[in-house]
């Protein structure tokens, strides 16, 4: 598998670090705060996990020296090469190895270098990790397993450094799928994922590793899985997204409020599976209109699952058809990325259409 990371990493970082442009979660009792970008917040979460859990180990391709995105920097020096180490270059091995560690009571934190390369591990994740507890009648489990992986568009990642595979895993009972959207959320959600009693696939928006910066509490805190966050309250339309798409949606929401004079409710789903049906339903019952947006292709994407559920449960409240603003049903194209992505303008148009329906 070709990792063409080195040559492109300067741009992968997403330009100069900047504070994120929408209000992140306030953490109570999180201790003093420190300015961190997304990769530093994740590093901080893993530092806390290794420090508090002597059975926690981190492994994957190139994690020993700090990882190609710097997420594990300094951890091998601090906790030893037995606990933070490189594996051979083999994703199915990484996932299987992690399952074995978890089945034996350790706390494995596995890294897959890009979500695009998680597919060789698909069998281990879907047939093995997801079914481990169920098939043994609850005698054994690999619930302490967390698989972290960078996902999503990055400007020029082409086919294999851009994918958003969350819906492949969302359809697998036994797995939890989590995607954070800010440094504060990333840290709290990763700590919760590591300590969760079920295997978790944790996708990190690599576009935001360096570009999203905020004051992150240095203490140990968790953000519960399975709970969406209402980023911004509104009454005319509900916008639903996750991960890096949250920035795009905020931009679209601001544009719609300004140009259409409406009030938008913005929801960060955070957990893809099991997703927070209640929060979404309550919002749509209030607004009667909804746009769901993700980078992944439209057909079979997670927006389809959400819209079907909304249709089942909010049928009488819906004032307009549910809109899905997604990637097209093509592979992720290099030079056409700007045209491919469901950007703020496409979302704005969709909001406009829904409002004027």
């Amino acid at each position: 598998m070709k990792r063409s990371f080195h040559s492109t990493s300067a741009n992968l970082a997403g330009g100069p670090s900047a504070p994120i442009n929408y209000p992140s979660l306030e953490i109570e009792n999180g201790g003093e705060k420190q300015k961190m970008n997304l990769f530093q917040a994740l590093n901080n979460a893993m530092d806390i996990a290794l420090q508090k859990d002597p059975k926690a180990v981190i492994f994957g391709e190139d994690v020993g020296f700090g990882g190609v995105f710097r997420c594990t920097v300094g951890l091998r020096e601090k906790y030893g090469a037995n606990r933070v180490f490189n594996t051979p270059l083999c994703e199915q091995g990484i996932a299987g190895f992690g399952i074995g560690l978890a089945a034996q009571g350790a706390t494995p934190i596995a890294e897959i270098q890009f979500a695009d390369y998680i597919f060789p591990a698909f069998d281990q994740i879907v047939n093995e990790a997801a079914k481990y507890r169920y098939r043994s009648g609850g005698q054994f489990d690999c619930g302490s397993l967390t698989i972290r992986s960078p996902y999503g568009a990055v400007g020029h990642g082409g086919h294999y450094h851009s994918q958003s595979p969350e819906s492949y895993f969302g359809q697998t009972p036994g797995l939890k799928v989590v995607i954070p959207s800010t440094p504060i959320e990333a840290k709290g959600l990763l700590l919760a994922s590591i300590r969760e009693k079920d295997p978790v696939i944790f996708f990190e928006p690599k576009l935001m590793y360096r570009s999203a910066v905020e004051e992150v509490p240095v203490g140990d805190y968790e953000i519960p899985l399975g709970k969406a966050r209402i980023v911004k309250e509104g009454k005319d339309i509900t916008l639903i997204g996750w991960g890096a798409q949250m920035r795009v949606l905020l931009q679209a929401a601001n544009m719609a409020e300004e140009k259409l004079g409406i009030s938008v409710e913005l929801i960060d789903l955070r957990t893809i599976q099991p997703w927070d049906v209640e929060t979404v339903i309550n919002s749509v019952k209030k607004t009667g209109r909804v746009v769901i947006s993700h980078e992944a292709p439209k057909t079979g994407g997670w927006a389809a699952e959400i819209s079907a559920t909304i249709q089942e449960r909010c049928f009488l409240h819906l004032e307009a058809p549910i809109q899905r603003v997604c990637g097209y049903d093509t592979p992720f194209p290099l030079i056409f990325e700007k045209f491919y992505l469901p950007d703020h303008l496409k979302n704005f148009e969709s909001i406009k259409k829904t409002i004027h329906y």
Binding site: F5, H6, S9, A10, M36, Q40, K55, V57, D62, F65, G66, V68, V73, E77, N82, R83, F85, T87, P88, C90, Q92, G93, A95, G96, F97, G98, I99, G100, L101, A102, A103, Q104, G105, A106, P108, P120, D123, Q124, N127, E128, Y132, R133, Y134, R135, S136, G137, G138, Q139, F140, D141, G143, P173, G174, K176, K197, D198, G226, P274, V277, E278
Partner: protein, 450 residues
């Protein structure tokens, strides 16, 4: 933080073997954060510091294509007549121990015969026999400790029996009743038991291999004096997970025993269509730098000695060992397979009669005067009776509660699972006579309570 990052990288660069990626990062970080370098990379001083690692091979002027020349020999000590050709290698178990081993092998074989027929009558849905591989099971299991974790494929029933898995346990699983530890969710032969340190079997082949490596890494990390043994067939060794596991175990130095049952057939595919190299053992030493033993799988003492030594190496040296046990799958692949479609009766009989592992041990016992035809007859009668009695009891048991459809998917049922269970119960209340509810534990209670 950026300057901190480059400090870490600078420290790292002092270590030998700094990777390419790291040095790229280092250069970039220095370039971007240090004004002194002004983007000029000075490699010359670095080059002088590079110490060339000593290669494990020699250079030659001969252009010689390498070919497979030396096949790994197969370790065997007891012949078909039960004679241990090098007596000093006889593990010299007591009469009592040998009788227990032999009884386990015979009981397994008897149980297989009965349950095979039982499946043919439709009383269980599926079965897989172990005919011909009994010595592998008992010989290897006897060399292990209970603290050693087992990951298995599916044709290792004798290993579990040796560890205390009873005929009733096996039949309850095959009948998928309420006493099945797996709660009736998997096909027959997919055993798992915390009590005997057996991780639950799954159908996807070879997935258990990298898992076993992870398991043994955890044992190593915890400082345990134990290992993980993982069983698999020669067909399974063609899967990518075999390569992943062997390479991980070797590179990460884990106490793993890879135990391959090379029985010459993967369903209908003969091993000559499975590989062209020196079997599975041939991949060990040169392919993965792994200590390797090839052993006669129909010689229980050879299997015992090989496994015992492998265990000693894994636990004491904290490194993996590969064992390839050469044997023959005497029975059909499973109850869904008719092996007469792809192999001859002559071939089967050659192994069944000429190299039978049970007969071999029986001959060993006869030489010592430890066993008689009368005892044999009694053992077989008793085993057959136990299997039949267990079956009759197991068939009368309830199936697990239907609520078990929804438990154990997650540690705690998610909202959608709670909803879906409710939907099912409401549906069953509408059509109670259309489903076999009375076969399932506590159905009345569950339908009423919810």
């Amino acid at each position: 933080m950026i300057s901190q990052t480059s400090r870490v990288l600078l420290n790292l660069s002092k270590n030998n073997g700094l990777k390419r990626v790291a040095s790229n990062y280092l250069n970039r970080s220095v370039v971007s954060t240090s004004s002194k370098t002004n983007g000029i990379r000075s490699f010359s001083s670095k080059v002088n510091e590079i110490k060339e690692e000593k290669e494990n091979f020699q250079y030659t002027n001969n252009l010689e294509v390498q070919e497979l020349k030396h096949y790994i020999p197969c370790y065997t000590i007891m012949n078909q007549e039960g004679i241990v050709q090098s007596p000093e290698q006889d593990p010299n178990f007591s009469k009592e121990e040998v009788v227990k081993m032999y009884s386990t092998m015979v009981t397994l074989s008897v149980m297989d015969s009965v349950l095979y027929d039982v499946q043919r009558q439709g009383r269980i849905s599926f079965y897989m026999t172990s005919f011909g591989e009994e010595a592998i099971h008992v010989g290897s299991a006897a060399a292990l400790e209970m603290s050693d974790t087992i990951f298995a494929q599916y044709r290792e029933t004798g290993v579990f029996m040796w560890r205390g898995f009873t005929i009733a346990d096996i039949i309850n699983q095959c009948c998928t009743n309420e006493h099945d530890l797996g709660k009736g969710r998997q096909m027959p032969m997919h055993f798992g038991s915390k009590k005997i340190n057996l991780q639950t079997i799954s159908s996807p082949l070879t997935t258990q291999l990298p898992q076993a490596v992870g398991s043994s890494y955890a044992q190593k990390l915890a400082g345990e004096k134990s290992c993980t043994i993982v069983y698999f067939g020669e067909g399974a060794a063609s899967e990518g997970d075999f390569h992943a596991a062997m390479n991980f175990a070797s590179a990460l130095s884990t106490p793993t025993i890879f135990f391959c049952r090379n029985n010459k057939w993967a369903i209908s595919t003969p091993s000559k269509e499975q590989y062209k190299g020196d079997g599975i053992a041939g991949r060990g030493p040169n392919g993965y730098g792994m200590k390797t033993i090839r052993v006669d799988g129909n010689d229980i003492w050879a299997v015992y000695n090989a496994t015992k030594l492998a265990r000693k190496i894994t636990v004491e040296e904290q490194r993996p060992v590969l064992i390839e046990a050469m044997t023959y799958r005497v029975g059909h692949h499973s109850t869904s397979d008719d092996s007469s479609r792809y192999r001859t009766v002559e071939e089967i009989n050659h192994w069944k009669e000429g190299k039978n592992p049970i007969t071999r041990l029986r001959n060993y016992m006869d030489r010592k005067g430890w066993w008689s035809d009368a005892q044999e007859k009694e053992l077989i009668t008793e085993a057959r009776q136990t299997v039949r009695d267990s079956l009759v009891v197991a068939e009368k048991q309830f199936k697990p509660s239907i609520s078990e459809i929804f438990t154990d998917v997650y540690h705690t049922p998610t909202p959608n699972l709670i909803e879906q269970q409710q939907e099912l119960l409401e549906h069953l209340r509408l059509y109670p006579d259309e489903y076999p509810l009375n076969q399932y534990l506590d159905s009345d209670k569950i339908l009423k309570n919810n």
